[in-house]
C-alpha cells in the first residue's frame, strides 16, 4: 500500500506536476494545430470526451491542494523550530552546521537585536528573524491555482447550455420549462465605465416562485442556470399575401435585426418569395428598441428578382400591386443562453485570490524574510541554522560572522 501511496503523494505535492501536465496539454495543442485551425476548441472538445485528459487536468487542482498542505506543514514546522519547541529539520533551512563548544545566547540575542532582527530565546535555543515571509502569498497563490483549475475542470466537463428566445409577453424559455411570463424587456443607456447599455428583463411570479429581474452583468440565475443575454432582436408576426398566393401566409418569427441596419432573411415556405428585413434607423437617432417605436424595412424577392421594398411600422401594413405585407405585432426579444456552470464562481474566486496573493507578495518582496536558529544539542555542541528568502548574501555574512564569534569565544 505504501508503495502505491508514495508516488501518488509525490504526484499531488511535487512542484514538477503542473509544468509536466501543462506541457502535455501544450504538446496536444501543437499536435492538433497541425490538423485544424480551431485547435483550442478542438482540444477543449477532446478533453471533455477523454477520461485520460480529464484525469490529467484533475491533477492540477489536486496538486495545488497538496502543495497548500505541504507549505502549511513547512510554515508550522519552521515556527515551532524558531520558538524552540520543534526539531529544526534539514529541509527547513538553507544552511545547517554543528559547532563544538558552548555559547552564551544572551550575547547573540543582543547582537541580532542590534542588527534589526526580532529574537526569541527559549531554554536551549535562540531564534532570530526579520522581514516578511512569502509563505502567506504562496499559500494564497496556491489556493488561487486550486480554484482556477477546479473551475476549468468543472466548466469543461459539466457545463450545460441551452439557447432560447426571451420574448415580451411569452413564458421564459427556461430549460426546465418552468418560467413565469416575461413582463417587460427594457434597454437603456448606462452611465457606467464598463457597460454602455443596461438591459432589464422582468419575469412575473409563477405559482409559489417570486418574480425576478435579469440584467447583463453579473448574470442573474434562474433555477441554478445563468441567464446570459447574447443578442437583441425582434419577435414579429408577419402576414403576407401575393397575387399568386391568395390564401396568404402568416407566421410568428424571431428576427436577429438589432442594431438597425442589420439584415435577416425570411423565406416564405413552398413559394418563390423571400424577404430581406432590417430595422429602420429613426431620423432622430433614437434607439427603436429602447423607445419601442419599432418598424420593419423589407425587400421582397421572387426568386432572384427584387419585386419592391418598403417600410412597415409595428401594427401597420403595406399593400401594393396585389401584394400585402403586414406586421400586426412586433415585440422585443433577447436571444438568451441558460447556462449551468458551477466552475464560473471558482474562476472568479481564483482571480480574486491571485490579486490578493500579489498584494501579499509585494511587502514580502521588499522586506525579505531572514531567519537564524541556534540550538544547544548536548553539552558542548550547538546546531546553527540559517534561511533566507531570495539571495540573502548580507544575511549569510551576518550568520557566518555570528558563527565566527561563537568559535572565537570557544578556543
Amino acid at each position: 500500500m505504501k508503495r502505491l501511496l508514495r508516488p501518488a503523494l509525490l504526484l499531488f505535492t511535487s512542484r514538477f506536476t503542473p509544468p509536466v501536465v501543462v506541457g502535455i496539454f501544450l504538446l496536444a495543442y501543437i499536435g492538433i494545430a497541425f490538423f485544424t485551425e480551431d485547435a483550442l476548441i478542438a482540444l477543449m472538445e477532446l478533453t471533455r470526451h477523454s477520461a485520460v485528459l480529464v484525469g490529467l487536468l484533475a491533477l492540477l487542482p489536486l496538486n495545488a491542494l497538496g502543495r497548500v498542505a505541504t507549505e502549511l506543514r513547512a510554515v508550522l514546522a519552521r515556527r515551532r523550530a524558531l520558538s524552540g519547541s520543534g526539531e529544526p529539520c534539514a529541509e527547513l533551512f538553507d544552511e545547517r552546521v554543528e559547532l563544538s563548544g558552548s555559547c552564551d545566547f544572551d550575547d547573540l540575542k543582543q547582537r541580532f537585536a542590534g542588527l534589526g532582527y526580532r529574537t526569541r530565546q527559549a531554554e536551549g535555543s535562540l531564534g532570530a528573524w526579520r522581514g516578511i515571509s512569502g509563505s502567506p502569498a504562496r499559500l494564497i497563490l496556491l489556493a488561487g491555482s486550486f480554484c482556477l483549475f477546479l473551475g476549468i475542470l468543472i466548466s469543461l466537463t459539466a457545463r450545460n447550455s441551452s439557447r432560447g428566445a426571451l420574448i415580451e409577453g411569452e413564458p421564459l424559455p427556461a430549460p426546465s420549462g418552468n418560467g413565469g411570463v416575461v413582463e417587460r424587456i427594457r434597454l437603456a443607456e448606462a452611465p457606467g465605465l464598463i457597460l454602455s447599455k443596461s438591459l432589464e428583463m422582468r419575469v412575473a411570479p409563477l405559482g409559489r416562485s417570486a418574480g425576478a429581474t435579469y440584467g447583463i452583468y453579473p448574470p442573474g440565475r434562474h433555477q441554478g442556470a445563468y441567464v446570459y443575454p447574447r443578442y437583441l432582436g425582434i419577435a414579429a408576426y408577419l402576414q403576407f399575401s401575393a397575387p399568386d398566393l391568395p390564401q396568404g401566409y402568416q407566421t410568428h418569427t424571431v428576427l436577429n435585426i438589432y442594431p438597425p441596419g442589420k439584415d435577416a432573411a425570411l423565406e416564405v415556405p413552398n413559394s418563390p418569395y423571400r424577404f430581406v428585413v432590417s430595422m429602420p434607423e429613426p431620423a432622430d437617432g433614437s434607439d427603436p428598441y429602447a423607445t419601442g417605436r419599432m418598424g420593419i424595412q423589407f425587400k421582397l424577392f421572387k426568386g432572384k428578382d427584387a419585386l419592391f421594398s418598403g417600410s412597415v411600422p409595428a401594427g401597420g401594413e403595406l399593400v401594393r400591386d396585389g401584394y400585402r405585407v403586414a406586421f400586426p405585432d412586433l415585440r422585443r426579444m433577447v436571444i438568451t443562453d441558460f447556462i449551468e456552470d458551477y466552475g464560473v464562481q471558482f474562476i472568479w474566486a481564483a482571480g480574486g485570490l491571485y490579486c490578493l496573493a500579489l498584494l501579499a507578495w509585494l511587502p514580502a518582496l521588499c522586506l525579505r524574510r531572514r531567519e537564524v536558529l541556534f540550538v544547544r544539542r548536548e553539552p558542548g555542541l550547538i546546531l546553527a541554522c540559517s534561511r533566507s528568502e531570495g539571495q540573502g548574501m548580507a544575511h549569510g555574512g551576518i550568520f557566518n560572522e555570528a558563527l565566527d564569534l561563537m568559535e572565537s569565544r570557544n578556543p
Binding site: R15, F16, P19, G23, L27, Y29, I30, A33, E37, D38, A39, L40, I41, M44, E91, D94, E95, R96, V97, S155, R159, G192, L193, I194, L195, S196, K197, L199, I216, Y217, P218, P219, Y226, Y228, P229, R230, Y231, L232, P259, I339, D341, G343, V344, I347, W348, A384, S386, M393, G396, F399, N400, E401, L403, D404, E407
Partner: protein, 444 residues
C-alpha cells in the same frame, strides 16, 4: 551563392565552436560527428526533394526546428526547477551527459539540422547540383579548421550543460530564419494571434461576459488589441526569448556553495567571489544566444526577399456580368506568376489574382483570406505570403479554401481566357472583408 550561404556557414561555425567548448575532452569526436551529421542532413534533403517534390522536405525540417525550440523550452524549465529546488532529484542516468555518447548525439543532431538548412538554401539548383556536392566538404573543412581556433579562445568562457542547448538552437533558428519556408518566427506569430483570438473569445463566453454591443467602445477598443497582429508578434517574441531568459535566470539562481563550515572570513569570501565570478562568466554565452535569437526574429520580420507583388490591373465586366481575362496579351497568365486585378462596380470593388500553379492548372482567388485583414499576398520562393500575418502558403495549395489560404473563386477556363462571374466576385469579397475586418477590429 556564396553570399547566400554565408549566414548558414557562420551559424555552422558558431555551432561547432559551442560543441567544442561544451565537450572539451571530446573535441575531435565532436568535429567529426558534427560533420557526419551535416552530411546526413544534406543527404536527407536531397532524398526528400527527389522523392517528394513540393513542400514536404521543408515541412519536415521546419517541424524539426520547432522541435528544437520545444527542447530548449524543456531544458530551460528543468534548469529553473533545478536551481530553485533544494535536493533536486536528477533523473536516472544523469551522468550520461558527461559521456561520449551524449557529446556524439548532440553533435550529430546539430549537424543534421545545420546541413539540412544549408541544403534547403541551395535546393533551387536542384538536388545533386554542384553546390549540393560542395556543401559537405566545405562544412567538414570548416569544422576541423575551428579546432585550433577554439583552443585559443579564453578559457574563462565556460559553458554549462544547461546552457548548451540555447546557443545551438539560437544559431539553427538564425540560419533557418533566412529561408522563408524554414522560418519559424512568422508562423509562430500567426499561431499565437489565432490562439489569443480563440482564447479571449472562449474566456469571454465561459465567464459569461456580455457581447461587444453592451460594452463601452473605448473598453472594447482595448480588448480589440488582443485580436490584432501586435498580439501575435509580441506573443511570439515572448515564446521566442523566454527559454533563453529562463536559462539565464537558472544560472543566476544557482545556489552558491555552502560556506558555513569555514571559519576564516577571508577564505569564505574568496570561495564566494570565485563562485560568483564563474557564474557571471557562464552567463556570457546565453546572453550572446539572446542576441542571436533577436537576429533570427529580425531576419524573419524583415526578410531580404523581394516579393513579386504586381500592381492590380483594372478589369471590367461584360454586359452579361462576366469578367474575361485573356491568357496571353499584356500579361502572360501562364508564366507561373501571380497576376492581380481590380474590379469595380459602383462604390464596391474586389481585388483578386490569377495564378498558374506548379501543376499547370489555373486558380483564381481573392487577394484576401478568411482570417486576416485584406492586406493581400505577394509571391516568393515557391510560396505566396499573406502580408498581414506573414504566413507562407505553398503554391501547390493555393486554390484550396481554409486557414490563411486566399479565398478561391469559381471560374471557367476557356480558349480565350479565364471567365468569372462579377457579382459572385463582389459578393465574396464583401463577405470576406466584412468578416475579417470585424474580427480584427475587435468583434467577437
Amino acid at each position: 551563392m556564396l553570399l547566400k550561404l554565408l549566414p548558414h556557414f557562420l551559424s555552422w561555425a558558431g555551432i561547432v565552436l559551442v560543441l567544442l567548448r561544451a565537450f572539451p575532452a571530446r573535441r575531435p569526436v565532436c568535429a567529426a560527428l558534427g560533420s557526419a551529421g551535416f552530411a546526413a542532413g544534406v543527404a536527407a534533403v536531397c532524398f526528400l526533394l527527389r522523392a517528394f517534390p513540393g513542400d514536404l522536405a521543408f515541412g519536415i525540417f521546419r517541424g524539426m526546428m520547432g522541435g528544437s525550440l520545444l527542447l530548449l523550452w524543456f531544458v530551460s524549465v528543468v534548469a529553473v526547477y533545478r536551481s530553485t529546488t533544494r535536493d533536486f532529484a536528477a533523473p536516472r542516468g544523469g551522468g550520461v551527459t558527461d559521456g561520449p555518447a551524449f557529446a556524439g548525439a548532440c553533435s550529430i543532431a546539430a549537424g543534421v539540422l545545420a546541413g539540412a538548412v544549408c541544403a534547403c538554401r541551395v535546393s533551387g539548383g536542384g538536388p545533386g547540383s554542384l553546390p549540393f556536392l560542395l556543401l559537405v566538404p566545405a562544412a567538414a573543412a570548416l569544422a576541423f579548421a575551428l579546432l585550433p581556433l577554439e583552443a585559443r579562445l579564453p578559457g574563462s568562457l565556460t559553458l554549462s550543460r544547461t546552457a548548451l542547448v540555447a546557443p545551438v538552437v539560437a544559431l539553427l533558428l538564425f540560419s533557418s530564419s533566412s529561408l522563408l519556408r524554414l522560418d519559424l518566427f512568422a508562423p509562430l506569430s500567426m499561431k499565437v494571434m489565432k490562439f489569443a483570438h480563440d482564447f479571449v473569445h472562449q474566456f469571454m463566453e465561459s465567464m459569461l461576459f456580455p457581447d461587444h454591443f453592451f460594452i463601452r467602445s473605448y473598453l472594447w477598443g482595448y480588448i480589440g488589441l488582443l485580436f490584432g497582429e501586435g498580439v501575435g508578434f509580441w506573443g511570439a517574441l515572448v515564446i521566442w526569448f523566454t527559454p533563453v531568459a529562463l536559462v539565464l535566470l537558472a544560472l543566476q539562481l544557482e545556489r552558491l556553495p555552502s560556506v558555513a563550515h569555514i571559519r576564516q572570513g577571508a577564505r569564505r569570501r574568496k570561495l564566494l567571489a570565485t563562485a560568483l565570478g564563474e557564474r557571471r562568466r557562464r552567463l556570457v554565452i546565453p546572453l550572446l544566444s539572446l542576441a542571436v535569437f533577436g537576429g533570427a526574429a529580425y531576419q524573419s520580420r524583415y526578410p531580404s526577399v523581394e516579393y513579386w507583388d504586381p500592381k492590380p490591373l483594372a478589369v471590367a465586366a461584360t454586359p452579361a456580368g462576366e469578367i474575361v481575362i485573356p491568357k496571353k496579351g499584356d500579361v502572360d497568365l501562364q508564366d507561373g506568376r501571380l497576376h492581380k486585378y481590380l474590379y469595380k462596380q459602383g462604390a464596391k470593388e474586389a481585388r483578386f489574382f490569377v495564378l498558374m500553379g506548379p501543376s499547370g492548372h489555373f486558380t483564381v482567388d481573392l487577394d484576401a483570406c478568411a482570417i486576416c485583414k485584406p492586406d493581400g499576398y505577394g509571391q516568393a520562393e515557391g510560396t505566396v505570403i499573406c502580408y498581414y500575418c506573414k504566413t507562407l502558403i505553398p503554391l501547390e495549395t493555393v486554390g484550396r479554401a481554409g486557414g490563411c489560404n486566399p479565398v478561391p473563386i469559381n471560374f471557367t477556363e476557356k480558349e480565350d481566357g479565364i471567365h468569372l462571374d462579377a457579382l459572385a466576385l463582389i459578393n465574396e469579397w464583401g463577405n470576406t472583408v466584412q468578416t475579417t475586418t470585424k474580427v480584427k477590429e475587435g468583434g467577437k
